[in-house]
């Protein structure tokens, strides 16, 4: 009887368990976004989960800066989202690679509820792959107090180009301490976001996405660029963040910027009386830039229906209102939101909405990230150098044509697949031959060599390293090599081997030569200086001068800080109001133009080098100190007894003993110098006009901006060969004299 009841209970238990797992089949959606802070978004998603009890949403918070990279890397390796927020300029790329699910049905069901031109450039080849979510635009901010000082009516902002120019001239003459205007430079996105509104309002255009015809080199655009250069002569030229800050502090009369200033200005300077108006357009036709955030579904998502429900929820007017309350620099895309009076009563809202009605997005192109970089470079070239606008526009048109025409070669098998299998085999064989030679040449049969069996314990000691080496070093090494022989792109997958074409392409690329030279300068500049400083400080500290402990701690301290933080702090030092400029002023030396060192093509690389030296020589000092302490004291004492002077002692005794450590320092230094990346990434992103483009940054750009992983791997390999060659060279130079010790 008891057994029966027990089994009965068990059965019931299992049935319940089984059935509950059947019924509580919660779908779990993966949602990636970056426009709303994590906590607030979680609250919104919790509400969605409440309304849809069997859908759970897992959120991954991205970051503005690295969001795109993270998305690409993840897709490349199979981690995907169900719903993701994208920038509107990224959609074409993702769509053209078949990564987004077509959601024209959502669009058509909401067709009439999208305000202004939110759908603008989201259509790709007749289909929609994303829905508008929230959007931002740019307007003209102007300082009313400066207007009054210059004799301009503070309630009459400039409405067209002529007025803008005359206002600028008035302010320049009557208010000498302020900048009449400001134009952003030094980044990849803000220069074109400010320039294109001018281009569009004059009726110019970039290119036609359907026919791929480029219209850049037109008379209108040349005149626009000429006008831009004219007002650029009176403008503060720096990054957008500094422009906003300087405007808030009353140092710039007029700027073109986005909604985030509404919160920023009262915080920085509550006394500032400023006004907002539409961007002055050519003959009054005001056009601005539309920066849209959109939502898309991954093509191979397994929960399409639920994803659509999530999207419908997120783009509903109620949620859009909530989001734009949390992040007031954004504007909803739903008509109903724009009509609600409580919403419109938020400060300056009406002005933004007026402007957004005449805002445009750039034409959709899968290669936009490359195009935007070229446009930004062309703008910077105009503003900094005295090159004729005609020449710049012509060059730009050629470049953009080159980029766009590559597009048509995509898709389909690569032409090289026929010959590549042979090349692949040959390269594998040659690698094996090389390894074989390596083993035999460097190996000298010694009398004291232990036979294999007896050396087993040695291998035991080596085993942890061997395991990790094979899994985490050897496999990626070989995989990268194979990758470098293909034209793999993370979003398209393999389309065939192309042999050493990648390598040939790279060696012929002028950008590669440039980055190689820059890296070489960088290494030549930082290694000797670092070494000398480290040597000097370790020797001095070894002498136990007063307070030596304090010195040692202080010199080591920079390493305690993360590179990213150190780079950010230094970029503050190099800015216009930073310490370096103040120092120059103190010494009565001329301040360079442009005065932000990181935007100055001549000073940018030097600035990064200085920061790198500051950051790294402490580590080398420690290594050399450890080396100094390993010198047997007796040798030194004997030399003192023998009557050697301290200088002689230094050169002939200490330095030779220190040789292996100096070798370590030199090799480490070279390797790190050639691999310099986080500093460049944080401070200059490749620099003003590629002035700080180094090899690793070139690799990163190829892999993550142009999404060409095959070429990127090839660059990595070339870099590796260069570093290896140099290291072997250095080791040989040092080892020559070590022969005696052996």
């Amino acid at each position: 009887m008891r057994i029966k009841t027990i089994t009965q209970y068990f059965l019931i238990f299992f049935v319940l368990l089984f059935s509950s797992s059947l019924f509580s089949k919660d779908t779990e959606l993966s949602f990636w976004q970056f426009v709303v802070p994590e906590k607030e978004m979680r609250k919104i998603l919790d509400e969605f989960e409440k309304r849809h009890p069997n859908i759970k949403v897992k959120m991954q918070q991205l970051n503005w800066r690295d969001g795109l990279d993270k998305i690409i890397t993840s897709i490349a390796t199979g981690i995907t989202f169900d719903v993701c927020e994208l920038g509107s300029t990224w959609v074409a790329y993702f769509a053209s690679n078949g990564l987004l699910y077509g959601i024209s049905d959502i669009i058509s069901s909401h067709k009439d509820s999208f305000a202004y031109d939110a759908l603008g450039n989201l259509e790709y080849k007749g289909n929609f792959y994303s829905t508008p979510w929230v959007a931002g635009t740019r307007v003209l901010y102007y300082n009313k107090k400066i207007f009054k000082q210059a004799g301009i009516d503070p309630d009459k902002p400039p409405l067209n180009w002529d007025e803008l120019e005359s206002y600028i001239l008035k302010i320049a003459s009557k208010c000498p301490g302020v900048y009449p205007f400001a134009l952003p430079v030094g980044e990849n996105y803000t220069p074109w976001q400010t320039f294109l509104p001018f281009l569009w309002s004059a009726g110019g255009s970039l290119f036609d996405p359907e026919t791929n015809k480029v219209y850049i080199n037109s008379k209108r655009n040349i005149e626009t660029l000429r006008y831009y250069k004219k007002i650029g002569n009176y403008s503060l030229l720096t990054r957008q963040a500094h422009i906003d800050r300087n405007f808030a502090l009353g140092k710039v009369a007029m700027i073109i910027s986005g909604g985030w200033n509404i919160g920023l200005i009262p915080r920085l300077n509550p006394q500032l009386k400023f006004g907002i108006s539409k961007i002055p357009g050519f003959e009054g036709n005001s056009v601005s830039f539309l920066g849209g955030e959109v939502l898309g579904i991954y093509q191979r998502s397994r929960h399409i229906a639920e994803s659509k429900q999530l999207i419908n929820f997120l783009i509903s007017p109620e949620i859009q209102m909530r989001i734009t309350k949390i992040v007031p620099s954004f504007i909803p895309t739903h008509k109903d939101c724009l009509n609600s009076p409580s919403f419109m009563s938020l400060a300056y809202r009406t002005k933004f909405i007026e402007q957004i009605k005449t805002s445009k997005s750039p034409p959709p192109s899968p290669k936009w990230s490359q195009i935007e970089e070229e446009i930004s470079w062309a703008i910077e070239d105009t503003l900094f150098n005295n090159v004729k606008p005609e020449y710049i526009m012509e060059k730009l048109e050629n470049k953009v044509e080159g980029i766009i025409s590559l597009e048509s070669k995509w898709g389909g098998k690569s032409q090289y697949s026929k010959f590549t299998s042979y090349i692949f085999l040959i390269s594998i064989l040659s690698m094996l031959v090389f390894l074989f030679l390596l083993i035999n040449i460097t190996r000298k049969k010694r009398v004291s060599e232990i036979p294999f069996r007896k050396s087993m314990p040695m291998f035991l000691f080596l085993s942890p390293w061997l395991i990790i080496f094979i899994i985490f070093y050897l496999f990626p090494f070989i995989y990268s090599f194979v990758l470098s022989l293909t034209d793999f792109s993370p979003l398209k997958g393999f389309s065939g081997f192309c042999g050493f074409a990648n390598y040939a392409k790279i060696l012929a690329d002028p950008e590669f030569k440039k980055s190689f030279m820059h890296t070489l300068y960088f290494a030549l500049g930082t290694c000797p200086v670092s070494l000398i400083l480290a040597l000097f400080s370790s020797l001095v500290i070894y002498k136990k001068i007063p307070f030596y402990k304090v010195f040692q701690a202080g010199i080591f301290a920079p390493i305690a800080i993360s590179v990213i933080v150190a780079s950010t702090v230094f970029s503050y030092f190099y800015s216009t109001e930073g310490i370096f400029n103040k120092l120059l002023a103190l010494l009565n030396l001329p301040i360079p133009f442009p005065d932000n060192w990181l935007i100055n093509p001549n000073l940018a690389l030097l600035s990064v080098m200085i920061m790198n030296i500051w950051y790294s020589f402490g580590l080398y000092m420690i290594i050399l100190t450890a080396g100094l302490h390993s010198i047997p004291r007796e040798i030194i004492e004997v030399s003192i007894i023998d009557g050697a002077g301290s200088w002689h002692r230094l050169i002939h005794i200490i330095l030779p003993q220190l040789k292996p450590f100096i070798l370590i320092v030199v090799i480490l230094n070279t390797v790190k110098a050639f691999q310099v990346f986080p500093e460049i990434f944080t401070m200059t992103q490749g620099g003003p006009h590629g002035a700080t483009l180094t090899l690793v940054y070139y690799l990163y750009k190829t892999g993550f901006h142009e999404f060409d992983m095959g070429k990127a791997s090839a660059i990595g390999y070339i870099l590796f060969f260069i570093i290896g060659f140099l290291s072997i060279l250095e080791a040989l130079i040092f080892k020559k004299e070590e022969v005696y010790e052996r």
Partner: protein, 420 residues
């Protein structure tokens, strides 16, 4: 002998002054970081350490007032020093109130006190702060009418119960006047004076729950990876520097090769591996691939090969196994190199950004540098919080170094110990 000593002493002083500028240059960014971390946000842009909320020159006296049973009229008076608004408030005989609301979008904790030039026939008024969620805190302020026309009232903010409101999200400050009959009110400049230094930034950084988690993750990972490296790479260095045996050279050269490879090259393959193992967003991914680093192996090998091996050889002949030789003799002798390896690894892991960034998705797994990077927005940098967060995250490394500095300097455990 005395002469020599004097000469040496003099030379030490010269060296001291030679290295001093280098030291100052190296350390000064720290002071700047600390200065910004302790400084209230916004002080750099302020004049005279005050934030002017309202000034008669600029603002309209009618902005922001609400009345109940009261009527106001205003006129501008020019006093000796600056402008002043002369307001007359006509309350009904049964009493009324007038409330004046000024927008205030600051973090109250950054300020020490409020200073306002006010003269009034109303003996006292309410001064309150409201945050964006509607919470308020207020206090009664008495106005002593005096003949001094430039009377400035200084109201320390400590006296307010600031725990009632969300101090970093204040939205308004208000003045409420309750009275009856005709009253006058003379208003001059109203400003908030910044504290000279504040702990508000640190408080805010530490109170965000995610920071504590980031710190813990970083600490856990760094400690485990450092200990693993110390043990395992010494073992590998020992194996490489001892006797010669087949494949030793080949393996060592391949180790060297791995040092030179840029991280970005391995990013995608490593990500695939980690994903296949199911380690994504877990501690495994952040620890296991980094348990041994080729640079450390190289350092240890260089060091061990410099040690005279007499003791160890004797022990081997006497019948000790390699393990015993290693753990009892060689390992203790390596302390200087181990210190270097340990510090190098700890600092490198503590500050590493690229791989934790790729491998982690959620707050629970992120490390400090990734968290710090989030303070750097696209268009502006949150300096005050970034500096205080960096100061906190740099602390463990500095403390560790200060502790181990002894071992490096005194040379107590340096190679000379084994020389009898």
């Amino acid at each position: 002998m005395n002469d020599n000593k004097k000469r040496e002493h003099r030379r030490n002083i010269i060296l001291f002054f030679a290295i001093l500028p280098l030291f100052i240059v190296t350390v000064s960014p720290f002071f700047i970081i600390l200065k910004i971390a302790f400084t209230p946000e916004g002080i750099t842009t302020a004049n005279n350490y005050e934030l002017i909320l309202w000034q008669p020159e600029i603002n309209d006296p009618h902005d922001g007032w609400t009345f109940e049973q009261c009527v106001m009229s205003a006129k501008v008076i020019k006093t000796d020093s600056d402008k002043q608004f002369d307001l007359s408030l006509n309350f009904t005989p049964s009493g009324g109130n007038a409330k004046w609301i000024l927008p205030l979008k600051q973090n109250i904790l950054n300020f020490d006190r409020m200073e306002l030039k006010i003269d009034s026939s109303i003996p006292s008024f309410y001064l309150g702060f409201v945050d964006i969620y509607g919470n308020q805190t207020s206090k009664v302020i008495t106005v002593k009418s005096s003949t001094n026309k430039n009377q400035v009232i200084s109201i320390p903010l400590k006296k307010f119960k600031l725990s009632n409101i969300n101090t970093s999200n204040v939205s308004n400050v208000y003045f409420a006047f309750n009275s009856a009959g005709e009253q006058y009110l003379k208003l001059g400049k109203i400003s908030l004076v910044y504290k000279f230094f504040t702990l508000a930034n640190f408080k805010e950084v530490l109170l965000t729950a995610s920071f504590g988690r980031y710190f813990f993750n970083s600490a856990l990972i760094s400690i485990i990876v450092t200990l693993g490296n110390i043990l395992l790479s010494t073992m590998a260095g020992f194996a490489f520097s001892w006797k010669s045996y087949p494949l030793r050279r080949f393996l060592f050269i391949s180790t060297l090769i791995m040092i030179m490879i840029p991280m970005q090259l391995f990013m995608v393959p490593l990500f695939i591996l980690v994903q296949r193992f199911g380690w994504l967003n877990s501690y495994n991914a952040l620890i296991i691939p980094f348990l041994i680093s080729p640079i450390n192996i190289f350092l240890m090998k260089q060091f061990i090969s410099k040690i005279p091996k007499d003791f160890a050889e004797v022990a081997l002949i006497d019948g000790a196994s390699y393990f015993q030789v290693f753990f009892r003799i060689i390992f203790p002798m390596c302390k200087p190199a181990i210190t270097v390896v340990g510090i190098n690894t700890f600092v490198g892991t503590w500050n590493s950004f690229l791989y934790p960034f790729i491998f982690t998705n959620t707050v629970e797994m992120r490390t400090l540098p990734v968290g710090l990077a989030l303070y750097i927005g696209l268009f502006d940098v949150d300096w005050a919080h970034l500096m205080s967060a960096s100061a906190i995250s740099a602390l463990p490394v500095l403390i560790l170094f200060l502790c181990f500095q002894k071992y490096i300097i005194t040379g107590m455990l340096s190679g000379t110990a084994y020389q009898n």
